[in-house]
C-alpha cells in the first residue's frame, strides 16, 4: 500500500505540473514512450558482516587562514580500526565553521541506528528519486556523521572509500549509498544518493566520489546524517518513470528555475551546475578538406587538427530572464601550424521531457562574437532518450555577429528559414533579403544589387544592374532554404572510433540533420551531427560531418562578366568539408540527478560544441559576402574603381 500510495502521489504531482500549462514551449509533446517493464529484482545474497558499532570523534580543521567562514582545504577521517570494514570519509574543501573547537562524530553500525528507519525500498521516498525503483536491496553498513554544537556548513556531500570483506563483493551486484536527513524525516531514505561505487578489479574497496544525488543541507548542529551502504542486484538501476500510457508533461518554464540550487523535481533533470565533461584523445580530430573543381581545379587541401573540448555547466539566465544553464564549451583545435580556440556558451534548460536551447554565443580568439537567439526555446533532446523520437528546430530568431574589426551582421530568420539581414562591412552597409521560395537580393548601399529569381522551370536568373544571366538551378527545387531535424535512433553499438574513458555500452544515438540552401550567396551546407549518449555520462562521443558547396566564384578565378560566375551545372565550384570527432576522455563530473542514476543521457551539452564549426561557417559566409560585393562592385563600375 505504501508503494502504491507513493506512485499515485507521483502521478498526482505530474498531473499538477502538466496542468500549469508551461510546457516550456516544447513542441515535442512530452509523450513518454512505453517503457520496458521494471525488472523484478531480488536482493543480492550479501553475507552479514555484523554485528558491530563504533563511535569516534574528530576535530574539524579550522578554515585557514582566519577569519572564520572562509574556504579551507578538504579534510578526511579514517574509520576506526578493529571493524570488519575500513575506509575513510572525505569532506570537500568548501565549508564554513562558526566557532572554534568544532567536532565531528563518525558512527559506524551494521544495523539501523535508533530513531532511523531501516533501509528498505518500501521506506524510500520515491518522489525524490523518480528514476529508480527496485524491489530489494541488501544493506551492509550504516555510517553516521554528526556535527558538533557549532554549525558546520557543507555545500557538497562527502565522498567515501569503504573496504568491505571480499565476500561482500558479488558478481552482478552494484553498491550504493542511501542518505537519511534527520531534519527531514518524512523523506525517509534517499536511495541511490551516491553510486554506483567504483570498484577496481580484484578489489573490495568501494569508492564513492561524492557529489550526491540530492542537496546536502549540511551540518545542522548536533544532528546525525546517515548514509547506508547497500547492494543492488544490477549494475544500473532500472529505468523509470513509472509506467504510464498517458502523455505527461513536466515543468513550467515560465516559472523561474533555480539552476544554481537544484530543486527536487519529479522528472529527469540531466543538467546541473558544476557538471563538466571533456573530450580529446587520439580519436578526437577535426579534418578540413577543400576541393576546388571549377574553373581552376586545384589539389585538394587537407588540414587536420587534434581536438580538445571542455564543457562546463553554470547558472545563467535565459533571454526571458528565467533561470537557465550556460553550457560552455571551450574547444581548441590544434592544427599543425597553429591552434584555434572557440568558446561557445549555449543557453539551455530542461523540463522533464525536453532539453531545449534559447540560443548560443560563440566567441573566437579574436573576440569576435556570434550570438544566436531563438524566438522560442528549441528542443535539442527529448527525454528520456529512446528510439522513435524525432523533432525539428524552428530557426525563427536573430543572429548578430560582431567582429572586433567593426564588422557587424544582424540577421533575422523567419520560421521557414527565410531571412533579412543588414550588415556593416568596412564602412559599407549591405542588405540581404532571402525568401523561402529561393528568390532574394543583395544590395550594397546605392552601388549595386544582385537579384536572384525564384526557380522556374529548373532555372534561376541572376541579375546585376542591367546585366543578367539565366542558369540551371543548382539546388533542388522546390527549394527548402533551411531545415534542422533530429532523430533518436535509440541504443546503438558504438562506432569503432568511439572509445570513451567511461563505460558506455550501446549509447543512445541521436542524429541531427541541418540543411541550408542560400541562393543569394550561392552555397549549400549540409551537416549531420551524431550524438552517442550514455544515460549516465551524457554524450560520450559525437561526430559532425559538414559539407559546404559553393556555386559562385568567390575566389574570382573567372572574368568579370557576367558578374557572378556560376558553375552552370549541379557541380559546385568548391567543396569544403569538415569532419570532426569528439570522444569523452575522462570521467565527467556529474551533479545532475538523472545522469547520476543512469537515466538521463543528454545531448544538450554536446551541442554547444558545434559552435566551433558554426563559427568557421559564419566567418566563411561573411567573407563570401565580401567577395560577392567585389563582384557586384566591379560589375557596376565596369571593373574600374568608383
Amino acid at each position: 500500500m505504501r508503494t502504491r500510495f507513493l506512485l499515485l502521489g507521483f502521478a498526482a504531482v505530474s498531473a499538477a505540473l502538466a496542468a500549469c500549462g508551461g510546457g516550456g514551449g516544447s513542441s515535442g509533446g512530452g509523450t513518454v514512450p512505453t517503457p520496458t517493464s521494471t525488472p523484478a529484482a531480488t536482493a543480492p545474497p550479501i553475507p552479514g558482516i555484523g554485528p558491530f558499532g563504533s563511535l569516534q570523534h574528530f576535530n574539524v580543521p579550522q578554515p585557514t587562514p582566519p577569519p572564520q567562514g572562509q574556504s579551507a582545504g578538504a579534510f578526511s577521517f579514517s574509520f576506526p580500526g578493529g571493524l570488519p570494514v575500513s575506509g575513510s570519509v572525505s569532506f570537500p574543501g568548501q565549508y564554513a565553521v562558526v566557532g572554534s573547537g568544532e567536532t565531528l562524530a563518525l558512527r559506524l553500525s551494521s544495523s539501523a541506528p535508533s530513531g532511523v528507519p531501516s533501509l528498505s525500498v518500501a521506506r524510500s521516498a520515491q518522489s525524490r528519486r523518480p528514476m529508480y525503483t527496485t524491489s530489494q536491496v541488501s544493506t551492509i553498513l550504516y555510517i553516521g556523521v554528526q556535527f558538533g554544537p557549532n554549525i558546520v556548513a557543507l555545500e557538497t556531500p562527502p565522498s567515501f572509500s569503504i573496504t568491505v570483506p571480499s565476500s561482500v563483493i558479488l558478481p552482478g551486484a552494484s553498491y550504493w549509498l542511501a542518505a537519511y536527513d534527520p531534519t527531514q524525516p518524512s523523506l525517509g531514505w534517499q536511495l541511490a544518493f551516491e553510486g554506483p561505487a567504483a570498484i577496481a578489479t580484484g578489489s573490495s574497496t568501494l569508492n564513492f566520489s561524492g557529489g550526491g544525488l540530492y542537496d546536502f543541507a549540511g551540518g545542522s548542529s548536533n544532528n546525525t546524517y546517515w548514509f547506508a551502504l547497500y547492494a543492488a542486484s544490477s549494475s544500473l538501476p532500472p529505468p523509470t518513470p513509472a509506467p504510464t500510457n498517458q502523455p505527461v508533461s513536466f515543468g513550467c518554464t515560465n516559472q523561474p528555475f533555480d539552476a544554481g540550487r537544484r530543486t527536487l523535481s519529479t522528472g529527469p533533470r540531466p543538467l546541473a551546475t558544476g557538471d563538466t565533461s571533456s573530450y580529446g584523445g587520439a580519436n578526437s580530430t577535426l579534418t578540413q578538406t577543400i576541393a576546388r573543381g571549377q574553373p581552376c581545379p586545384e589539389p585538394t587541401a587537407t588540414a587536420v587538427a587534434s581536438v580538445s573540448d571542455a564543457v562546463t555547466v553554470a547558472a545563467t539566465t535565459a533571454p526571458s530572464g528565467a533561470a537557465a544553464w550556460d553550457a560552455q564549451s571551450i574547444e581548441s583545435d590544434a592544427f599543425a601550424t597553429n591552434t584555434v580556440t572557440t568558446t561557445t556558451d549555449s543557453i539551455v534548460n530542461e523540463d522533464a521531457t525536453h532539453e531545449f536551447t534559447y540560443g548560443n554565443t560563440i566567441t573566437d580568439e579574436n573576440g569576435d562574437t556570434i550570438q544566436t537567439r531563438y524566438n522560442s526555446p528549441q528542443t535539442v533532446d527529448e527525454l528520456p532518450e529512446g528510439s522513435g523520437h524525432s523533432w525539428s528546430i524552428n530557426p525563427a530568431g536573430t543572429v548578430n555577429e560582431t567582429l572586433t574589426d567593426n564588422t557587424s551582421i544582424a540577421r533575422t530568420y523567419a520560421a521557414d528559414g527565410s531571412y533579412q539581414e543588414t550588415d556593416q562591412l568596412a564602412g559599407a552597409t549591405t542588405t540581404i533579403n532571402e525568401r523561402a521560395d529561393g528568390s532574394g537580393s543583395y544590395t550594397i548601399g546605392s552601388l549595386g544589387t544582385l537579384t536572384v529569381s525564384a526557380p522556374s522551370a529548373g532555372t534561376i536568373t541572376l541579375a546585376i544592374g542591367a546585366g543578367s544571366i539565366t542558369i540551371p538551378a543548382w539546388f533542388t527545387t522546390p527549394v527548402t532554404v533551411y531545415g534542422d531535424t533530429f532523430a533518436d535512433n535509440g541504443p546503438q553499438s558504438s562506432p569503432s572510433w568511439c572509445q570513451p574513458a567511461v563505460t558506455a555500452t550501446n549509447p543512445d544515438q541521436i542524429v541531427e540533420t541541418l540543411a541550408i540552401t542560400d541562393p543569394v550567396l550561392g552555397y549549400t551546407e549540409n551537416r549531420t551531427t551524431t550524438y552517442y549518449d550514455s544515460q549516465t555520462y551524457g554524450t560520450v562521443c559525437m561526430q559532425i560531418l559538414d559539407t559546404l558547396n559553393e556555386y559562385y566564384d568567390y575566389l574570382q578565378d573567372t572574368p568579370i562578366s557576367p558578374g557572378v560566375f556560376v558553375s552552370g551545372n549541379a557541380s559546385p565550384l568548391q567543396t569544403n568539408t569538415i569532419s570532426e570527432f569528439y570522444v569523452m576522455n575522462s570521467t565527467p563530473t556529474i551533479n545532475a540527478i538523472a545522469r547520476r542514476s543512469g537515466a538521463g543521457g543528454v545531448s544538450a551539452l554536446a551541442r554547444s560544441k558545434a559552435g566551433a564549426i558554426d563559427s568557421i561557417r559564419a566567418m566563411q559566409r561573411m567573407q563570401r559576402m565580401r567577395n560577392l560585393q567585389r563582384y557586384i562592385r566591379r560589375s557596376e563600375t565596369g571593373g574600374r574603381s568608383s
Partner: protein
C-alpha cells in the same frame, strides 16, 4: 661647355668603353684605380640632350680597408654553423675593421667639400653623401651630365667617364646615372577606390598567420606583440605624421578598432664627417621651414645643409605639380607602415623616408612641370626615384643608427640591371656591402621578391631574372601567395602561389610572386645545404601578396580618402614578415637561452633566412622541446601555382594578349622558386626559433 657639344659622340664612346669593361670594375671594393659610376646602365640608352638640373645628390663609396672582409664577416655572423655566429658588430667596429680608414674618409670628404658640395657621413665609414648644384657636382667629378632615354624612361648620366684626382680614395659613385630600375612592389588594382568593401582587416591577417599565437604568449610577464623591438622601413613614399601621430594609421586603428604601433620618421642626419673629422668649408644653413615632417637638425651632429633636405609635408592627392610642391601619399608607405604597426602593435616603427628634393629634375630632367593630362602608360610621371637609387642615405643611416632590429624593404630591381650600379657581375660592390653591414649588426632585412614573377627585370619583361636586393645573401626574400581567408582568418580555400595563371582575378593579370635563381650571388650556406641550391634562389618564404586576397590600407586620411582595399604585391608580404620577425625577436629578448648574441643587442638573430632553412631542414620531429618543431608545423607548404610573367599592361591594365609569357617556376612540395619554403605561422615560428612555447 665645350664638352656639351661633343656629348653625343662622347656618350657613344662611353658606352663602348662600358661594353668592353663588362662590369669588371669593383664598385665599393678595393680601388682598382677606376671609378665605378654605373656606366653599364647606359647600355641601350639614347642621348636626348644636355641636362640642366639645379641640384644633385650623389653617394660616393670611399675605399674600404677590407670590403670583402665585411661580406665574409656577415656570412659568418649569420651562419649558425660558424664560430662567428651572432657575434654582431657596432657601426664603429664595422668602420674600424672593414670600412674606410679615418684618413681616407676625411680626405674624400674634404675633397668634395672643397668643391663647394655638402658632405655628410656616417660612423661606419662606408659611403659619403654629397650634394650640391649640378655645376659643382660636374666640377668635382670632371664630367657633365646629359639626359638619356631608355625603356621609356628619361634620366641623367655623365656624358663622359667621371674623373677624380688619383689621390682621392673614392672607388664608386652610386647614382651618377639616375636610370631607375627599382620599383615598389605594390599592386593597386584598378577597381580599388575609396571605401572599398573588400580587403583583409588586420585581425584577419593576425589570425590567419597566427600572430595571435604570439599575442597569447606571455613571456617575461607580458604578451608578445613586438614590445621593445624597433622595426625599420626603408621606403620612398611620404607618410603623414603630425604631432607624433601617423594620420593614416590612426584612421586604420579607428576603422578596424585595432591597436597600432607608433610610427615615426627616422630622420636622416649624415654626421661624423663634420662633427667628427672637423672638416671645414661645409656650407651650413638652417632648414627653411621647420615642420613636424621637417624637424630642425641636431646642430651637435651635423652642420645642416640645405642640400640635404628633409621631406616636404604631405599634400592632397589633388595637388598638381612636381615635388616638393606636391607630395601626395603613394599607398606604398601607408601599406608598409600599417601592416607592421597593426601586426606588431607593441613595436616602434621607424620609417626611413628616402627623399630627394631634385627627384622631378632627375627623373624628368627637363620637366619639373605638372603632369600631362594623360601620362603615357607606365610612365611613373612625377614619382620620386625608388629603391637603392633613392635610399642609399637611408640605408647608411639605418646602419649608423643601429636601432632598427628588423627592416622591411618593399622595392627592388632586376638583378642584372643593377650591375654597375651597386655591384659587379661577380657580386661585389657597395650594395652587398651595406646589406652585409646590416647583417653584421644582427639586423634582419626582409625584402620583397617582386611582383612580376620569374621576370624581375624592369627593362625587359621578357627576360627571366630575379630582383635585388631580395637576392642579396644578407637579405631574406619574401614572395607572395593567394590566401583566401575568412573573417576569422581561417582558410576558406587552399593557399596558392600568387600567379597570373593560377589566380587569374578575372584575367586582370595583376602579377606573380617574384622568384627564380640569381645569376650573381651564390646560395647562402643554409639554403645550399637544405635545398641543394648552388646560386642564391629566391624567395625564401612567402606571405600575402595577391591583390585578390589583399589588405585594407588607409590613405590620404586628411584629404578625404580614408580607406582602400585589396592592396597587394610582395610589398604586403615583406612588412608582414618583418612584423612577424619582431615578435620572434621579442620572444628571444625575453628568453634567457636565446638572448645570447654578442654585441649590444643580445636578442638579435641576424638574417632570418638561415634560421628559416634550419627549420626547413627538420622535416619531421616531435616538437618537444619546442625548438625542435619541424618544418610542417611551422610553414604552410604551398604546392600549387606558378609565376610565369604575363607582360602587360594591355587595355585597362589587362595582360597583353599578344605577349608571350615568360616561363615561370612551379610551386611544389618543399622549397620552390615561387613561394620559398612556404608561409610561416608566427606562433610556431617563435617556438621553433626561440624555444619559447606558444599556446
Amino acid at each position: 661647355m665645350k664638352r656639351l657639344f661633343l656629348a653625343p659622340a662622347l656618350a657613344v664612346a662611353v658606352l663602348a668603353a662600358a661594353a668592353c669593361s663588362g662590369g669588371s670594375a669593383v664598385p665599393g671594393g678595393a680601388s682598382s684605380g677606376a671609378l665605378e659610376w654605373g656606366q653599364e646602365q647606359l647600355g641601350g640608352a639614347a642621348f636626348v640632350g644636355p641636362a640642366n638640373v639645379d641640384h644633385l645628390e650623389v653617394n660616393v663609396v670611399v675605399r674600404q680597408q677590407n670590403a670583402s672582409g665585411l661580406l665574409q664577416y656577415a656570412r659568418g655572423a649569420n651562419n649558425p654553423a660558424s664560430p662567428l655566429y651572432r657575434q654582431f658588430l657596432t657601426p664603429q667596429q664595422i668602420a674600424d675593421r672593414f670600412g674606410a680608414s679615418a684618413q681616407d674618409y676625411h680626405n674624400a670628404a674634404q675633397y668634395f667639400a672643397s668643391r663647394n658640395l655638402s658632405v655628410g657621413g656616417w660612423p661606419q665609414r662606408l659611403t659619403l653623401a654629397v650634394a650640391g648644384s649640378q655645376s659643382n657636382v660636374e666640377r668635382a667629378f670632371g664630367t657633365h651630365f646629359g639626359v638619356y632615354r631608355k625603356n621609356g624612361e628619361e634620366f641623367i648620366a655623365p656624358m663622359s667617364a667621371p674623373q677624380l684626382p688619383a689621390a682621392i680614395p673614392v672607388v664608386a659613385a652610386a647614382n651618377l646615372v639616375t636610370y631607375d630600375v627599382q620599383r615598389r612592389d605594390i599592386v593597386v588594382p584598378p577597381r580599388v577606390g575609396n571605401n572599398a568593401v573588400s580587403g583583409y582587416a588586420p585581425q584577419q591577417v593576425q589570425a590567419a598567420f597566427d600572430y595571435t599565437g604570439a599575442y597569447k604568449t606571455v613571456v617575461g610577464g607580458s604578451a608578445l606583440n613586438g614590445t621593445g623591438i624597433n622595426v625599420g622601413i626603408i621606403g620612398t613614399g611620404p607618410i603623414d605624421v603630425i604631432g607624433g601621430q601617423d594620420q593614416d594609421a590612426a584612421t586604420l586603428a579607428t576603422t578596424f578598432r585595432v591597436r597600432m604601433a607608433p610610427i615615426a620618421i627616422a630622420t636622416v642626419t649624415p654626421s661624423g664627417v663634420a662633427a667628427g673629422l672637423k672638416i671645414s668649408g661645409i656650407p651650413t644653413a638652417p632648414p627653411s621651414s621647420p615642420s613636424p615632417n621637417n624637424p630642425p637638425p641636431n646642430p651637435n651632429l651635423f652642420p645642416f645643409s640645405a642640400d640635404f633636405q628633409s621631406p616636404p609635408p604631405v599634400t592632397s592627392p589633388k595637388c598638381t605639380g612636381p615635388l616638393p610642391t606636391c607630395n601626395p601619399e603613394d599607398v606604398e608607405a601607408q601599406l608598409d607602415t600599417q601592416q607592421i604597426a597593426s601586426l606588431a602593435p607593441g613595436s616602434n616603427v621607424m620609417f626611413y623616408l628616402a627623399y630627394n628634393a631634385s627627384d622631378c629634375h632627375v627623373y624628368f630632367p627637363n620637366s619639373c612641370a605638372p603632369a600631362p593630362p594623360s601620362p603615357p602608360p607606365n610612365s611613373n610621371y612625377g614619382q620620386p626615384l625608388e629603391g637603392l637609387l633613392e635610399a642609399d642615405a637611408e640605408i647608411q643611416q639605418a646602419i649608423a643608427d643601429d636601432k632598427a632590429d628588423v627592416i622591411s624593404i618593399s622595392w627592388g630591381g632586376g638583378e642584372p640591371e643593377n650591375i654597375g650600379g651597386y655591384y659587379t657581375a661577380s657580386g661585389s660592390g657597395y650594395g652587398p656591402e651595406e646589406f652585409a653591414a646590416l647583417a653584421a649588426e644582427g639586423i634582419a632585412v626582409f625584402a620583397s621578391s617582386g611582383d612580376t614573377g620569374s621576370a624581375g627585370c624592369f627593362g625587359n619583361t621578357q627576360r627571366v631574372c630575379v630582383q635585388y636586393p631580395a637576392s642579396d645573401p644578407s637579405v631574406t626574400a619574401v614572395g607572395g601567395v593567394n590566401a583566401p581567408i575568412d573573417e576569422l582568418g581561417q582558410f576558406e580555400a587552399p593557399i596558392t602561389a600568387w600567379g597570373t595563371t593560377t589566380a587569374t582575378n578575372g584575367g586582370l593579370g595583376l602579377g606573380d610572386s617574384g622568384g627564380g635563381v640569381s645569376t650573381i650571388f651564390p646560395a647562402i650556406a643554409a639554403q645550399a645545404s637544405t635545398t641543394g641550391a648552388t646560386m642564391r634562389e629566391v624567395p625564401d618564404l612567402a606571405m600575402l601578396a595577391d591583390p585578390n586576397t589583399g589588405v585594407f590600407v588607409a590613405v590620404n586620411s586628411r584629404f578625404g580618402g580614408f580607406l582602400t582595399g585589396e592592396i597587394g604585391g610582395t610589398s604586403v608580404a615583406a612588412p608582414q614578415s618583418a612584423a612577424m620577425w619582431a615578435l620572434v625577436l621579442e620572444a628571444c629578448k625575453n628568453t634567457h637561452a636565446c638572448a645570447t648574441a654578442g654585441g649590444p643587442f643580445p636578442y638579435r638573430l641576424g638574417n632570418a633566412a638561415p634560421l628559416i632553412y634550419g627549420i626547413y631542414g627538420k622535416k619531421s620531429g616531435t616538437g618537444s622541446p619546442p625548438a625542435a618543431l619541424p618544418y610542417p608545423n611551422v610553414f604552410y607548404d604551398v604546392v600549387y601555382g606558378q609565376n610565369p610573367n604575363l607582360p602587360g599592361p594591355g587595355p585597362a591594365n589587362t595582360p597583353n594578349p599578344n605577349a608571350t609569357p615568360v616561363p615561370g617556376y612551379v610551386a611544389g612540395a618543399g622549397y620552390d622558386e615561387v613561394t620559398g619554403v612556404g608561409v610561416p605561422f608566427a606562433g610556431h615560428l617563435i617556438q621553433a626559433i626561440t624555444g619559447q612555447a606558444v599556446p
